[in-house]
Structure formats: C-alpha cells, structure tokens
Subunit: 299 residues, 2 copies
C-alpha cells in the first residue's frame, strides 16, 4: 500500500466514524417537530469533507487521546460549521441556492425553518460537548465547551462573518483580509485542532505553541485555497456556486494578489505549518498529511 | 415596609446585579468587530423585566446557592432569551419592527447583522456558563451547560418555535397549543428555575419534582398572560406591537378560549404552581412572589 493510499484509508475510516455518530445522535426525523429535525439532518448529513473533525482526530492522535471523546468533539465542531453554512446561505447574507451539490436549506425548506435549523444546530453542538458520558475529566471537558464557544462567537467565527459583511462594501487591505479570515474560517479550524489535542494528556507548553501555529497557518491556507477554487473551479466540481466572490464584488486573496500569487501564498503557509509540526515528532504525521490535503484539494 | 414593597426592592436589587453583569461581560462596542458588539449590546441591555434571571435567583435562594454563579446563570439564560427575540423579529419570522419600545435589531442595524447578533449571543451564553471562574463543581457546571443546551434546542425553545411556524397555517387544538408553548416559552423558564436550584447543594428528589411542576405551570401561565395582554393591551404599554397575534391569524389562548376563560386559566395555573411551592418551605417565598408577578403583570 502506498503512503497516499494508507492516508486515504485513514481519512475514510475517520469520516465513517463521524457519519455514524452524526446519524445516530442527530434527532430522528420521526421525532417532533419533524420538519425541523428533517432540516437539521439535511443540513448536516451526507455533506462535506469533514476537514474539521479529521483535524480533531489527527490532533488527538498527536496527544494520544482516546477515540470516543474525539469523535464527539469533531461532531460538535462540525455542527457549528454546518449551522454557519445554513445561516450564511440565507437571503439576508450570501443568498445562495446551492450547497454541497444540493439546494441550500432555505431553498429545500423555507427561510424561517432554515433560521431555526441553524439556531438549534448550534445548541446541539453544546449539548453533545457537555454530555457527561464522554468520559473526560469534567474540568477539562468544561474547557472544551469554553473553547468552542469562544471560537464560534463574536471574537471568533461570528465576528469574522461580521467583518466580512463590511468587506463587500469596502476594499480591505491584505492585513485586514487576513485578520478577518483568521476569525471567519480560522477560528473553528484552530479550535478543532486544539480541542482534539485537549482530549489527551496535556501537551508541553512549547508543543502547544507549535500546534497553535500549525492551526493558524492551515486555517488561513484553507481560506486562500477556497478563494482560488472559487475563482477557477467549475460549479459542478465545487458543489457550490463558483465565481460568486467576483459576482459579489468581494475582495479575496485571488482578487488582491492574483491567482498565481495566491497559490504561492497557500504553499508558503503549508510550509510554515509543516515546519511547526516538525518539532512535534512522528505522531504529528496525520496533521502533516491533512495540511497537504487542505492545500492541494480540488474542491 | 409592606410585603409588596419589600418584594419590589428584591426585584430591583436582582435586576441591578444582572444589569451590572451584562454591562461588564458583554463585549465593549469599542472592541472589533464594533458594529456587531454594538448590536449585541443593543439587543440585550436596557430591556425587559429579566423574569428568567429573577427566577434563577429565587430558585437559588430556595436551594441556598451562592450568589455569584446564580448571576452568571441568569445572565446566560437571558442571552438565550435575547437572541431568540432578535431572530423571532426578523422578516422571515414575525417581521416585527418594535421591541421593548425600541426598533427591533434588524431595523436598527440590518438583517444580516441581526442574524449574526442572535448567533453570537447564543455562543456567548455558553461561554459565560462554562467560565471556569464560576466556582462551581466542574461536573455540576457541565450539567448546567447540558440543561441550557437542551432547553434552547430542537426539543426545547427552538423546537417550540418550529411548532409555532406551523400554527399560523393550521388550527391547533388546545393540547397542541399547550405542547407548543411548554417548549417555546416554557423550556427556558423551566431551565432558569432548575438551573438556579442546581447551583446549590442537591435538593431531594421530591423537592425537585415540586419545583419542576412549579416551573412548568408558570412557564405556561407566562404565555397565557402574554396572549391576553397582546389581545387587550396598548402598544405603548406593551413596548412591542400589540394585537399582532390576531393580525397574523394566530391561534392563541385568547382566541381559542376567549379572554375571560384565558384569564381564569392563568389563575388556575398560578394556584397549581403555588400548591407545588407550599411543599417547599419558607425559602420558596420569592418563587411564590414571582409567580404572582408573572400572572398579574400588565406588560
């Protein structure tokens, strides 16, 4: 088996564990209120690459964390991500009709239900994360709740989205663009990595710092690659509307730097991330492979 | 000092403690992203009777809980309540322009920002509730997070709102109306009571049951009174648009039972609540007074 095939097997196994958790723990669509539960399942299941849960798993491997809480952590982070997509797609925000190759939640259901779907997915993330059966030390588990709340809120993902709203009307500088994306996309990716590691015995402070640096680099790289893909990919490959940044007159890494410079910037961030990992020993291998995966993906 | 004046003093002291907590713990509007933080403060500060935090305080007195975590619990519950109002008022939901005597959040700012304001207020509730400095036993604090997440989510408040969406098109029966309101309004009121008590040493199981029954009764009574007030009060007294249930063709307790029957039903629920409290000894006095306050309020 080649190194790549071995990694792909690991990715698939992780995705399957996650899907099973989501399938089993999302409220059944036979349970009242049925339409809401149907919409919640629609917004979460069969979708996406599950990059954030995979990062949590990989960081958990680095920290020799047990598997069970790692899956719950990854699933909680994924719920926050899914809720943010549902709300982002609403007419008041990006007004998008296509997501993961399917109609967006408000197109499939309606706006009011999509709003509630996002709201209750967020609550569910905190419900899962505070489950007393995760088998973690309660004080440490409470810190996981705190980490996810901070990463989601006005100083994290939600704050980055608010900064992005202003981006559409102004021409942000490159540092402003970076500050926005470190929150909008970066905060949750960083949380996935740090929360995964947090499920194991505490890392040394120096290792923590390297891991946080890795997380920041790949969070930003993820967004740069997203911008490049939006500018050059087909809607059919992307599974969501391509070229919408340009249509919305949004400043992106692609529009500010040009495509080839943006690609080079993603590569720099990757190398920076890999340098940080090289301090962390052989257990960091999955994180290394995921960094390559994030930067070299085609959708 | 009359008994009533003494209670009013207690209410005011509790409200002031809460306002101070909110003022200090909501992100400053000088902090980036400023507009979002401004909108979050707008949606939460100077508003409402703070019934839920007062219930948490009163239940905490019953359970001899320390004051500090009670304030944080009350503030977290109030954030969930405030976020639900912001989202409820959006055009896709109730499309309302007036709340607490001021323009609704999306009128004052815009729809996209109001959406993010609600989203980040929810995250902030879980951030406050998981603060390691609350001085509670971590395992018990984790249970508070779990209680609030359940009360907010698809089997609680959010689910009740989804049931309410369908109410506008159909004619729900009285039991259906009750099932909806026990979630939509009741879940968070019940959580405020039970979470307040949870901050103290554990109550006996029988006392727990009485307290939960009290909480259910006043949660429902709160909604019945809301319906009556909507049907008969002035917009200027109410601080929000009056008569909107009838205008939206919504089935309410007032429209189903008639006004005088609905008033009698609220009185029955009050007496039921008071009977449950009578099993709990003299420390339940504040809860008793709050039940009267909820049923006999004029806005």
């Amino acid at each position: 088996m080649t190194r790549n095939a071995e990694f792909e097997g690991w990715v698939q196994a992780g995705q399957e564990l996650l899907e099973r958790y989501l399938q089993q723990h999302l409220p059944a669509s036979t349970l009242a209120p049925q339409r809401l539960h149907e919409a919640m399942r629609y917004a979460v299941l069969e979708g996406g690459k599950r990059v954030r849960p995979l990062l949590a798993l990989a960081a958990g491997e680095l920290a020799t964390a047990p598997l069970e809480p790692l899956i719950a952590v990854g699933a909680s982070v994924e719920l926050i991500h899914a809720y943010s997509l549902v709300h982002d797609d609403l007419p008041a925000m990006d007004n998008d009709i296509l997501r993961r190759g399917k109609p967006t939640c408000h197109k499939q259901f309606n706006e009011a239900l999509a709003l509630l779907t996002g709201d209750t997915l967020q609550s569910l993330a905190f419900q899962w994360l505070s489950d007393p059966r995760l088998g973690l030390d309660p004080a440490r588990q409470l810190q996981l709740v705190q980490q996810l709340a901070l990463a989601s809120g006005s100083r994290g993902m939600g704050g980055g989205q608010a900064m992005d709203l202003e981006n559409t009307n102004q021409n942000p500088t490159l540092p402003e663009l970076e500050a926005m994306h470190l929150k909008k996309t970066g905060a949750l990716i960083r949380a996935a990595v740090l929360m995964g590691a947090h499920c194991g015995p505490p890392l040394e402070e120096k290792a923590q710092r390297h891991l946080a640096h890795y997380a920041n680099c790949i969070g930003l790289a993820f967004q740069v690659v997203d911008d490049v893909l939006d500018a050059e990919a087909d809607t059919s490959v992307l599974g969501k509307t391509a070229g919408k940044d340009a249509a919305a007159n949004k400043t992106t890494y692609a529009s500010t730097m040009g495509l080839s410079q943006a690609r080079a910037f993603a590569q720099e961030l990757l190398e920076d991330a890999l340098r940080a990992l090289s301090q962390l020993g052989p257990r960091a291998e999955r994180l290394e492979q995921l960094a390559h995966f994030i930067v070299h993906r085609s959708h």
